[in-house]
């Protein structure tokens, strides 16, 4: 376990501000903080190791927390390679907690319990698409075009949002990060975007959680079933949630709802709570134990999820359940093949591009 740790923020006015440190006697000079920051600016790695002022410091930063760094002072017998996963997990955990509830960050406890948080899950990467309006627009465009030069996509996007300042890179990055789209040079000059996966954001019935409820919380099972039924298949004439309605249908829940569920999924604490509740109903303290986040932070996350009709609370039994299970489902876009054939026939794509597209689809889906 690291001997000491600190959380530092580069503030635009005050410079490096050490927000948390353990032990309290840990002293850090401006030079040491500068060097830690500089190492990260040089490279792209989330974790760096540096020897400064007699200390071996492993430091962690992540794009999601700009300006923030966590430093771990390693013991003489510790080798970063063997603990790097743990270090980045603890670093991410501390930074997430700093962003949610700084007062609850207790470095000593985090080090002792080795509380970690994983990097963004695939579902969270997908959620970013619906939180970046131009990305969602681009995805819709690729549903029809399936393969397109980035120059044409950029022009199309500018015409859609009616602004020259729109940045294709910013719009396409969430699509690339989630693996839905790959951008490559075909030949020497043709930068091309390929749609490799499609995405469906919806609320599924919480099947696993409900089946467990009958075992672990039988007292709530009947009422829990009612909650779920009311949402998915209420008594007529009420209309239940139906994610398969086409998005141009006025009753379609997709457009208005996917941004809401994307917000929940992209928030790491709420996502961890969601994962915990997908397994089975739990109390706040059980979720806290399961996720390592403090109860106060869990409680706030649950309230946010309750407001979006994702979680519900049974006060008497003091247990939280999932009433809808937001999902980001990735699937093979079979429709791309006829579109590609047509585009090839109409000479809208050349044979090199078509061949490369098929190779990429095989690589992506062959496992």
């Amino acid at each position: 376990m690291p001997e000491a740790a600190f959380v530092v923020q580069l503030d635009d006015y005050h410079g490096f501000v050490v927000k948390k440190r353990y032990p309290s006697t840990l002293t850090l000079t401006e030079k040491a903080l500068n060097l830690v920051f500089y190492e990260h600016q040089k490279g792209v790695e989330e974790i760096q190791e540096l020897e400064v002022e007699g200390m071996r410091i492993a430091s962690f930063t992540a794009d999601a927390y700009p300006g923030w760094t966590v430093g771990f002072v390693l013991g003489s017998d510790e080798v970063l390679d063997s603990i790097s996963k743990e270090i980045s997990g603890m670093g991410r955990f501390m930074l997430e907690l700093m962003s949610q509830d700084p007062e609850s960050v207790d470095i000593a406890e985090i080090l002792e319990k080795k509380s970690t948080m994983p990097s963004l899950a695939e579902e969270q990467l997908c959620a970013q698409i619906y939180l970046t309006p131009s990305s969602a627009l681009l995805l819709e465009r690729l549903h029809t075009e399936v393969v397109e030069s980035t120059a044409k996509l950029s022009m199309w996007l500018k015409s859609q949002v009616q602004a020259d300042s729109v940045d294709l890179v910013e719009a396409i990055t969430p699509l690339m990060d989630s693996g839905l789209v790959k951008v490559e040079m075909v030949g020497k000059t043709l930068e091309t975007a390929f749609l490799l996966k499609d995405l469906f954001a919806y609320r599924a019935p919480p099947v696993e959680s409900f089946s467990k409820a009958e075992v672990v919380a039988p007292g709530v099972a009947a009422e829990y079933r009612e909650y779920i039924s009311k949402f998915f298949s209420p008594e007529p004439p009420a209309v239940g949630y139906n994610p398969t309605l086409p998005i141009d249908d006025p009753n379609s829940p997709i457009l208005e709802d996917r941004e809401k569920i994307s917000k929940i999924i992209s928030n790491t604490v709420q996502y961890e709570v969601l994962k915990s509740l997908r397994e089975r109903p739990r109390s706040v303290s059980e979720i806290s134990e399961h996720t390592a986040f403090p109860e106060r932070v869990i409680q706030n996350a649950l309230w946010a999820m309750e407001a979006e009709r994702i979680a519900a609370h049974f006060e008497k039994q003091d247990v939280w359940v999932l009433i809808t299970d937001p999902r980001m489902e990735v699937f093979f876009p079979e429709y791309v093949l006829p579109v590609l054939t047509r585009k090839l026939e109409e000479r809208k794509v050349n044979s090199d591009t078509a061949r490369r597209y098929l190779e990429l689809l095989i690589q992506t889906w062959s496992e």
Partner: protein
């Protein structure tokens, strides 16, 4: 950034002063408190509907707001930006009502409130000092701080951040002395973020001044709102270009300096003061 708030007062139900803090000398305090008590009594007869209002008194502008039993008052300069001060008032009122109102009602000490008020009310101006290695940036920093120069040259690592001991234009000045070695150039864009004034220091040699044109471009791209000034340092050396020539090449207002000569200190502070004022005027005009 923010404008100056000279003092902050919070009055309670019995028109007692629950909290007060002065950042700059203003009118006689006892007269002022008497005035504020009268103001608080008057405000009880009107409904501000949660808004902040102000009145002009001599060269000052008194901003006031009321929430429940508390009256909040800021004293500021008449020339300062009303909207920004009203924003700060909203922040202060919200912070107090959410976290400290119960303590004040119970006549308990408001632990931690003083620091929160500082965060909201204190005006800070970031002045970044940029230039290539060895041109005298850190010497300029020492000069501004009125410090004795170290005997050994110790190149800056990353950035060195220091405060100016005195206020300039009634604001706290934070000086960011950026390392000039080329390996640290990857930090420059990040480190000058939110600077209101950027001082580009040259050693007045033709080679260095020509190179420094890149810095001017960088600053104009990264912080277009900042006021940029040039410093033609080492004017005591025989090869030094004149400040006029340096300014012509850099295309920014440029001033002469011999950073190792303490007699330049006041002049340099005046230059920064002027840059802050001009920056404020430009922001207002925009």
């Amino acid at each position: 950034m923010s404008k100056l708030i000279r003092s902050v007062y919070i009055l309670g139900q019995e028109d007692d002063v629950v909290f007060s803090k002065e950042y700059a000398r203003s009118e006689s305090k006892s007269d002022l408190v008497e005035f504020l008590v009268n103001l608080a009594q008057f405000l009880k007869s009107v409904d501000l509907e949660g808004q902040t209002e102000f009145m002009n008194v001599s060269i000052s502008r008194i901003f006031y707001a009321q929430r429940d039993m508390f009256t909040f008052v800021f004293i500021a300069d008449k020339a300062d930006d009303t909207v920004q001060i009203e924003d700060k008032m909203t922040q202060l009122v919200d912070t107090f009502m959410n976290e400290f109102a119960n303590l004040a009602t119970a006549k308990q000490p408001l632990d931690g409130f003083d620091a929160k008020v500082d965060e909201i009310a204190v005006t800070m101006v970031k002045v970044a000092i940029l230039g290539f290695a060895g041109v005298g940036k850190t010497t300029t920093l020492h000069l501004l701080r009125g410090e004795t120069l170290p005997l050994v040259h110790d190149p800056t690592i990353g950035v060195s951040i220091k405060r100016l001991p005195e206020e300039v234009q009634n604001a706290n000045i934070v000086l960011w002395d950026l390392a000039g070695q080329s390996r640290f150039s990857i930090l420059w864009a990040k480190m000058i973020a939110n600077a209101q004034v950027v001082v580009i220091v040259t050693d007045s040699t033709l080679e260095n001044v020509l190179r420094s044109k890149k810095l001017v471009s960088l600053v104009k791209e990264e912080v277009p709102e900042a006021k940029v000034i040039g410093i033609a340092n080492k004017q005591d050396l025989p090869t030094a270009l004149t400040p006029e020539r340096v300014g012509q090449i850099l295309a920014i207002p440029t001033y002469e300096l011999v950073a190792i000569d303490i007699s330049y200190r006041d002049r340099l502070i005046q230059i920064i003061r002027k840059a802050i004022l001009e920056g404020k005027a430009e922001t207002r005009a925009a």
